[in-house]
């Protein structure tokens, strides 16, 4: 299935090496690194879902963290009431997110451009404040989840390594889904409507319906990431849907390379590794300055926006260009 020539493409090589390394993480890394890896994978899944609508569909959703929150709260609330089966929790998390995404999408598609950005933000803030107002589930303080999702004894998510691999397999699944989606007729229409919606309509495609379907699907995927995140942190709070979390997701997608299959993975790794390593790195160069790592990280984002439009993905490709002429 895999073309041998493809291996000479550095992007494929890098991705393949990354994935192989990722599978092996629990064998050589300590507890903390395994947790850290799980976090990156979960955010990758969330970023893939945003990439579907933002990267391929051109819909700048500034409220994507809301679906992360809905997925998380679905798991948290059910666990709080003693419903621990993951066979129930996870589908509910995805369904709830999908339904909310459908509603938000249906209303938001009426607007364009920056109004779209803002209306998605407004709906996310709405959900955020619902979380804040849920007195029974901790309100602003959040809720501790005392039992992770259970899968009838087949999988014990309490085990760090098992949890990590579960996330990893799900990520591969979501990647595959995204790949198939983009290659399909559906994906072509979606991308076509991004570059020229009018023409696609003139060709007779009901693009709004296509876009709405993508939006809903992305909501469901992100809901799954939310369910995983709730299990990973054993805790849910409105903070996971704060608008800055939506901002982080956009940063991850753009950093990795919008509208590229593996961009979200590169983006999530870069984002979290930078977050964790910039501080010690700066401390090493100039002791005591590590606390101010965002002084570097902020301008870095500005530079990415100004000069690195294709994100890391295009960087890897550019690195390849000299050899291939």
């Amino acid at each position: 299935m895999l073309d041998v020539n493809a291996l000479r493409n550095p992007r494929v090589m890098i991705t393949l090496l990354l994935l192989i390394a990722a599978v092996l993480v629990p064998f050589f890394a300590g507890n903390f690194l395994v947790s850290f890896g799980s976090r990156i994978i979960i955010w990758t899944i969330a970023a893939i879902s945003l990439n579907v609508i933002l990267g391929y569909g051109g819909m700048v959703s500034f409220g994507h963290a809301a679906y992360l929150g809905i997925g998380g709260y679905a798991v948290g609330i059910m666990a709080h009431h003693g419903i621990n089966s993951g066979f129930l929790q996870w589908p509910v998390a995805m369904l709830a997110s999908a339904l909310w995404a459908l509603a938000v999408g249906a209303l938001s598609m009426r607007t364009r451009g920056v109004y779209f950005i803002m209306i998605t933000l407004a709906f996310a803030q709405l959900i955020y404040f619902v979380g804040v107002g849920l007195e029974a589930y901790g309100g602003d303080d959040g809720l501790t989840i005392y039992k992770r999702s259970e899968f009838a004894g087949i999988l014990s998510l309490k085990n760090r390594a098992t949890f990590y691999w579960t996330c990893f397999v799900l990520m591969l699944g979501v990647f595959y889904l995204c790949h198939r989606l983009v290659q399909s007729r559906f994906g072509m229409v979606l991308q076509g409507s991004k570059s020229n919606d009018l023409r696609m309509r003139a060709l007779g495609f009901p693009t709004t319906r296509y876009r709405l379907t993508a939006f809903t699907l992305a909501g469901a995927m992100c809901g799954l990431a939310g369910a995983l995140l709730a299990n990973q942190t054993d805790f849910i709070s409105p903070a996971m849907m704060h608008w800055t979390a939506s901002g982080d997701l956009i940063v991850i997608v753009v950093l990795g390379g919008m509208g590229t299959l593996f961009g979200p993975l590169y983006g999530a790794i870069a984002f979290f590794v930078l977050e964790e390593s910039l501080k010690p790195l700066i401390d090493w160069v100039r002791p005591g300055w590590g606390d101010y790592w965002r002084l570097l990280f902020g301008p870095l984002l500005v530079m990415v926006a100004l000069y690195a439009r294709g994100g890391l993905d295009s960087l890897f490709e550019r690195a390849a260009r000299p050899r291939h002429g």
Partner: protein, 391 residues
């Protein structure tokens, strides 16, 4: 099949993790707020921990002590992440600190259950942990939220306040604090406002309601930087001097430099005041002032006590921290000299202690400070210990 293999592999991975030798040093993780406006509290706690270490010669039971400070950024999710890091990556023997009830509630499971590590709280005292969530691995050198404000309710009764208006921020501790007042106060509660936390800093709408309701007194709980805003706006609204203000954890040594004269004459309930006449306290306050030029706050005092409590257990076990049951038993004895005088643990590992009424006054140098005016409760237990299954 594949999953079974994964499970087997993961078990292998866990087994092969090297056992950590813990007997070379005492490692303490300390979680507090070191960024943002509430960092004034965190710095006071850090200073007090450092002072305690100085007093101990940086050794406990002959072992060197290492304290790792982590910033919770004033957010439950961040605090939880940092707690996990301390337990899983740094493999500390004790975790201490925690200013905020919601941060503590979010972090508790990671430390005491998943990490089986002992947590010695130095400030937050949410009702849940005193009651149904009480935990053999959780001890605190502070108080339970309701304990302090129940004492304040008593004070309101004594002062003959017939009608009171209550205000607090909308988070775990705020709700506990108001519940405490309601528990012991016998008069009428005219109104109660919970304000958005932490981002609401303009209290104009609530203060207008107080103005219209005309209560005999107002009780508020606004910790740290929020206390500065509240007192300022209370005075701007023309309420200062008209309606007496009673407080808990709103005026302390960290906020006084900014509250200044606005705090004069305002009463508060507290389990420790800097002028308590015991020797341990005199030494702590005098050395703190010598080192930092200011009075320590109750946050600092509780952190100092937390380190001294941990020290008592390490010394009692002669530095052998291999048996957690023994550590817990040793901590439970509270075999240390607290800066607040009498101190022992209740069944839920919260202190049984006195509560005092403090007032803001000027000291002999003209600096603002707090003075004990009354011992309102003696050997006082929090109301939730009966719900705690531990005996």
């Amino acid at each position: 099949m594949k999953i079974k293999m994964l499970a087997a592999a993961s078990a292998l991975a866990l087994l092969s993790a090297p056992a950590v030798a813990q007997d070379k040093a005492v490692k303490i993780g300390f979680i507090t707020t070191l960024s943002g406006p509430q960092a004034i509290i965190g710095n006071d706690m850090k200073n007090s921990v450092e002072l305690a270490l100085d007093h101990l010669g940086r050794k406990m039971g002959g072992l060197p002590v290492e304290v790792i400070y982590e910033d919770d950024s004033f957010k439950p999710d961040v605090g939880k992440q940092k707690s996990e890091k301390l337990v899983q990556q740094d493999k500390v023997n004790f975790v201490s600190g925690y200013i905020w009830s919601n941060v503590l509630l979010a972090s508790l499971k990671s430390v005491t259950d998943d990490g089986d590590t002992i947590l010695v709280g130095a400030n937050a005292g949410p009702s849940q942990i005193a009651g149904e969530l009480c935990n053999k691995n959780f001890f605190t050198t502070s108080w339970q939220n309701d304990q302090t404000t129940m004492a304040m309710g008593e004070k309101l009764n004594k002062a003959g306040v017939k009608k009171v208006y209550l205000m607090a921020p909308n988070y775990a501790a705020g709700k506990d604090m108001l519940a405490g007042v309601r528990r012991s106060y016998k008069g009428e509660v005219m109104g109660e406002d919970l304000t958005k936390w932490p981002d609401q800093l303009d209290f104009s709408a609530e203060l207008a309601k107080i103005q219209a309701a005309k209560p005999d007194a107002v009780f508020v709980f606004y910790p740290g930087a929020a206390g500065v805003q509240f007192l300022t706006q209370y005075s701007q609204a023309g309420l200062k001097g008209k309606i007496p203000l009673y407080t808990a954890f709103t005026i302390d040594a960290t906020t006084l430099p900014q509250q200044k004269d606005l705090a004069l004459g305002v009463l508060g309930a507290q389990t420790w005041v800097n002028d308590l006449p015991n020797d341990a306290n005199k030494k702590f306050v005098a050395d703190f002032k010598k080192k930092h030029g200011t009075y320590p706050s109750f946050y600092g005092q509780q952190s100092y006590d937390a380190i001294m409590l941990i020290n008592s257990a390490v010394v009692g076990l002669k530095g052998d921290l291999s048996n957690k049951d023994k550590i817990r038993a040793e901590l439970k004895k509270a075999n240390f000299t607290s800066t607040r005088g009498p101190f022992k643990f209740n069944t839920n590992n919260f202190p049984i202690q006195n509560v005092y009424i403090q007032e803001t006054v000027k000291d002999s140098d003209g600096n603002l400070t707090l003075k004990t005016v009354e011992t309102i409760m003696t050997d006082f237990k929090d109301p939730y210990h009966e719900k705690c299954p531990m005996k």
